[in-house]
């Protein structure tokens, strides 16, 4: 079976080269036969990779410990579910997952467009197959998951199998961690589809809105998966790593954020191109940048050029990635410059008080955010190059820049809906802005009255209030306008209004989700924590909570040994809950892990970590964090997913011509 998988993987290399070349030929000659051949190549590449992946899964499930990857990432007693999921636990497997997703997408795109876009498709397949070629080189020649274990016996290398594997990293044995890689990878890989179409448009000169329309849903889906993947990563860090937070501006975290930032900018600026035929070059650049940043992100994670707790160590992929990235960048930028003249804007911006200008500022802020995060992430490399000192910037630097930018962007989500396309009349401006601003101002006074005195927090809450107001008004007013014409009741009108323009109202739902998440982030301004060494019966307090140690227990299973704490939590004399933080030591991988316990309400999370034990074993060290509003982040994320799905639903068409945005 290992041979089967290995040979199939090897065959990916020639098959993808063939597909790339045939697709290019199809584009140049415009011959139907060549295009069909390229499509079949795409399907074949998908088939071969899928079978290869399935054989790796088979090896994992049957615990074939002669294969290095199986031995490093699983062990006999690992539950079946985790054996399957070990597919992406280690570097080689996760890289194969990347490639698999690429081939799935090239197959889908080829199939979706089998009756249309004949001019673009050859080059689309060319770009996607070309990417597959690169990744197949990595999978086959550098990081092959089917490598067998070898023993050095002096003169020869002999294949052998270990008795039992090292098991899955315990940190990965958690639901959020399980789906975080595939979800994130789907987001990363999805960036190749708009990119391929953009390149195809540049090569063929078909620079109209066609490529944008075809890729609209792909762009939105990719964006959604990236967002979900990023949040899942944060959730996992929060629940599994035990440091009390969910985002540390770590290089690998930043790597996933970068393409998301440019993708968000694109989703907005593309609307300007649709309405005014402006920003054509900029949109192309954004699509190209998003793809390059996604590949760059995976390069950062796997090359070891910046050190990170998440990063796989230097795996020899660095040079290959560098070559690929440089080639892709030069090629895309070159093409873009070549077609510059054909990408002139059709119209100009008429007024600064317009929706266009709002989107332009939105894009500027996203661009600055991207540059800032990139700069901060690469600073150790840059500083070493220029000063000889390797300097790392930490969360305070990132927060210093990103909090103001984030709040400015949040403000724009509230201002945007109040602006009309082209130009907003001054009388209406006063009316639209007046009420929400007044309301926010009063809200600020209320907050001050409650004793909130952190400036940024107040700003954040005030802007959140403002945005929520404007968005809710948009829904209500819109329903009202519809009711005048249709006579429906309010809720029906609301539903019909949204269904007839899912992009706009889905977008508003997403903005509301962002507001919720920002409120969650703002909770960080009010965090508190404490640390205590306790034996059975000891007590301690944190703010208005008091804690009593009921028991300290030890246990052992087949997989791990553990020490746990029964901690009773009370507020104002009443017992609220009993919490059980735990520390485990996994035998197979010789790794410890903390199982935090979290008491989570809308108002705050009480987050408890068992950090260690005293020398005599009689006492344990426990840390308690009070994190306000964390739940808002997760709830906001769910709403964001819902909003994204809603935005993808096709607009409802009525018998008379429906409206479009």
């Amino acid at each position: 079976m290992a041979d089967l998988g290995n040979v199939l993987l090897y065959s990916l290399f020639p098959l993808s080269i063939y597909t790339t070349l045939v697709a290019l030929a199809a584009g140049i000659t415009k011959r139907q036969g060549l295009l069909v051949a390229a499509r079949r190549g795409a399907y074949s590449v998908f088939a071969v990779t899928t079978l290869s992946v399935l054989s790796l899964v088979y090896l994992l499930v049957t615990s074939d410990f002669s294969i290095e990857y199986v031995a490093s990432n699983t062990n006999q007693s690992l539950p079946l579910f985790y054996k399957i999921v070990a597919l992406w636990a280690g570097h080689n497997g996760s890289l194969l997952l990347w490639t698999w997703i690429i081939t799935i997408f090239v197959g889908i795109v080829a199939y979706q467009n089998r009756h249309k876009n004949n001019d673009l498709m050859p080059y689309v397949i060319f770009v996607m197959a070309g990417t597959t070629v690169f990744f197949s080189v990595l999978n086959v020649f550098i990081s092959n998951p089917f490598d067998t274990l070898y023993q050095d016996l002096g003169n020869t290398l002999q294949e052998f199998a270990v008795q039992d594997g090292r098991g899955l990293n315990p940190l990965l044995q958690h639901p959020a961690m399980i789906i975080h890689p595939p979800v994130l990878f789907i987001g990363y890989v999805g960036t190749v589809v708009p990119f391929a179409f953009a390149i195809a448009a540049l090569i063929t000169g078909k620079l109209g809105a066609g490529w944008i329309h075809t890729t609209r849903r792909w762009a939105l889906t990719t964006w959604g998966f990236l967002a979900a993947g990023i949040v899942l990563g944060g959730k996992w860090a929060y629940v599994e790593l035990g440091w009390g937070g969910y985002w540390a501006w770590d290089p690998v975290e930043n790597a996933s954020l970068l393409p998301w930032l440019t993708a968000t900018a694109y989703l907005h600026s593309v609307m300007i191109q649709e309405r005014k035929g402006m920003l054509k070059v900029w949109n192309m650049a954004l699509v190209i940048a998003t793809y390059l940043l996604a590949v760059f992100g995976t390069f950062l994670t796997r090359s070891g050029i910046v050190s990170s707790v998440h990063a796989f160590a230097n795996s020899g992929l660095g040079p290959a990635f560098a070559v690929f990235l440089t080639t892709a960048t030069l090629f895309s930028v070159g093409l873009l410059l070549y077609r510059r003249k054909d990408l002139k804007p059709d119209e100009e911006m008429q007024s600064l008080v317009s929706r266009e200008s709002g989107f332009l500022f939105n894009n500027l802020l996203f661009l600055l955010a991207t540059i800032a995060v990139l700069w901060g992430t690469l600073f150790p490399v840059i500083s070493e190059l220029f000063t000889g000192d390797q300097i790392t910037v930490g969360p305070p630097w990132f927060n210093n820049i990103m909090i103001p930018i984030g709040l400015a962007l949040l403000l724009l989500t509230g201002v945007g809906p109040l602006l009309a396309w082209r130009h907003t009349s001054t009388e209406t401006l006063k009316r639209s802005f007046g009420w929400p601003i007044l309301g926010s101002f009063i809200f600020v006074l209320v907050l001050l009255g409650f004793g909130v005195n952190d400036g940024w927090a107040i700003g954040s809450f005030a802007i959140s209030f403002f945005v929520t107001w404007t968005i809710v008004v948009e829904f209500i007013k819109g329903a009202g306008v519809r009711r005048k014409n249709s006579g429906e009741n309010f809720f029906k009108a609301l539903y019909m209004l949204s269904r007839k323009n899912t992009r706009r109202y889905g977008g508003y739902i997403i903005h509301l989700a962002i507001v919720l998440m920002f409120m969650g982030f703002t909770g960080n301004a009010f965090n508190s924590e404490t640390r205590a060494e306790v034996g059975e019966g000891d007590t301690f307090t944190l703010d208005s909570y008091s804690f009593k140690t009921l028991a300290i227990n030890s246990a052992e299973t087949e997989n791990y040994s553990s020490q746990s704490l029964e901690l009773e939590m009370s507020k104002k004399g009443k017992v609220v809950d009993t919490l059980h933080p735990e520390r485990r030591y996994y035998f197979a991988s010789e790794q410890p892990s903390t199982e935090v316990d979290i008491y989570s309400t809308m108002r705050e999370d009480i987050y408890i970590v068992l950090s260690g034990a005293s020398n005599d074993g009689e006492k344990v060290i426990v840390q308690v964090y009070r994190n306000p509003f964390v739940k808002f982040v997760w709830i906001g994320a769910w709403l964001l997913v819902f909003g994204t799905l809603f935005a993808m639903v096709p607009n409802l068409r009525e018998s008379k011509a429906g409206g479009q945005a």
Partner: protein, 136 residues
């Protein structure tokens, strides 16, 4: 053209604001840390006291001393040694013990007496390719 200019002015203002934030962020002590090896640290001499540092080296086997919440150990690199005193509040992995071959990165500051007060420890087992970590 009038609108163009207004827009450009607005953008320049925003860009300048962000640059100011970036530079200001760099000047704050808490944000920046210098990465050095143990021997490089020795070369810095007294200058090192003022800097936030990330020192990398290998764990000296047998040097770990634990005392309830206190942790002391020694890291080496080349011919140099550095005494580490852990003052952070995050849990230390159990694998951080006297038997392992570990590459260690400590973040913190150098204090009087040549001891390094570490707020964070990252320990990577030399045989595996993924890092163990005490904290994030």
């Amino acid at each position: 053209m009038n609108n163009r200019i207004k827009f450009i002015i607005g953008s320049v203002v925003i860009i300048l604001a962000v640059i100011v934030l970036a530079v200001q962020g760099m000047q704050e002590d808490t944000s920046m840390s210098y990465s050095k090896t143990v021997s490089e640290l020795k070369l810095l001499g007294d200058r090192a006291r003022a800097m936030n540092l990330k020192i990398s080296g290998d764990l000296k086997k047998g040097s770990i001393v634990r005392n309830n919440m206190d942790l002391d150990f020694v890291i080496t690199e080349g011919n140099s040694e550095l005494q580490i005193h852990y003052i952070g509040s995050d849990p230390i992995p159990d694998t951080f013990n006297n038997e392992m071959d570990a590459e260690v990165v400590v973040s913190g500051k150098l204090v009087d007496g040549g001891v390094f007060n570490a707020e964070r420890i990252q320990a990577k087992c030399a045989s595996k390719y993924e890092a163990d970590y005490s904290s994030n």
